[in-house]
């Protein structure tokens, strides 16, 4: 199954969103998370993102969901560090973090492939709430 990695500047956001997504999917998929810097500041941590992607890759790929600016750049650097083995299987979603993560996690848990999971995450941009 496709794995999901949550990347935020805040550890609390990453942990809280992990909780929400894990509850929705009941432990059926691997969900990783990286929030905050190594020394506990707000920010992103490329090394941890690399580790989380490795943990969540079971052969079907991993979708990364990001919050603001440097999360995107840090996720891209993580992909570069992981190299060719991961190149086509790990993707970054251009999606809102919370809604995208929930939608992607549910989609992954029903066994969809990485492209479908990414498309569903990105469609969360157009979610109408009211």
């Amino acid at each position: 199954m496709v794995g999901i990695v949550i990347v935020s500047h805040s550890k609390k956001v990453a942990d809280g969103l992990y909780e929400l997504a894990d509850q929705m999917t009941g432990g059926k998929i691997r969900i990783g998370r990286s929030g905050g810097t190594k020394d506990g500041r707000l920010g992103t941590n490329v090394d941890e993102i690399v580790e989380e992607i490795k943990k969540c890759e079971s052969g079907d790929g991993v979708l990364i969901l990001v919050d603001l600016g440097s999360s995107v750049m840090s996720a891209q650097m993580a992909l570069e560090f992981l190299g060719e083995d991961y190149e086509n299987k790990v993707k970054i979603a251009d999606a809102p973090l919370v809604e995208g993560t929930i939608a992607a996690s549910v989609e992954a848990s029903i066994g969809s492939d990485i492209l479908k999971v990414k498309a569903v995450a990105e469609a969360a941009k157009n979610l109408v709430k009211i």
Partner: protein, 213 residues
Amino acid sequence: MILTTNDVLNIISNISEVIETNRQYLTDLDAAIGDADHGINLDRGFKAVKEKMPQFLDKDIGAILKNVGMVLVSTVGGASGPLYGTFFMRMGNVVSGKNTLDENDIVAMFEAGLSGIKERGKAQAGDKTMIDAMEPALNELKSTLSEGRGLKEAIEAAANDAYNGVLMTKDIAAKKGRASYLGERSIGHQDPGATSAYLMIKTVADYVDKLQQ
């Protein structure tokens, strides 16, 4: 004029001091249009670089710069981490295996580093970022060198143009990075990343100026 491995190590160590000295200043600039952490981010990164320096002593210039980039990527935490990290790693790639740098190497490094930043952050000159200090500096470095005026004068001129670039960032609205959320309201404020880029270039200029060649 030629720079040696030892010169490169000295310059990196000087940059780390300059960043420490300007930690609050850079953070205050970021408070006005960002999230008040630019000085803290870079100081964290360059302190980590400084701690790793003993491991760099037996390495060539390319390897040293790549290592500096990797440490920045791992420790900075903000947008400036992947950006300056990519800058140093790309500079290192162009001078792999070298123990001295001539004028052409320095231009090639700066060019590769700056295009790395542009690829990474998808920004260009005029977006109110570090590029607004770096690009004029690179252009001035190249034109001064092509007039045969030597490295000392060229880096000094480059630092001057970087500073003018920093001042120019006050007049424009941010199109990239956190400050872009403020849009037009970012006008009137100087960009923190352009300021740190200038400080680094100025540090190189000051160092080269004192060399006896």
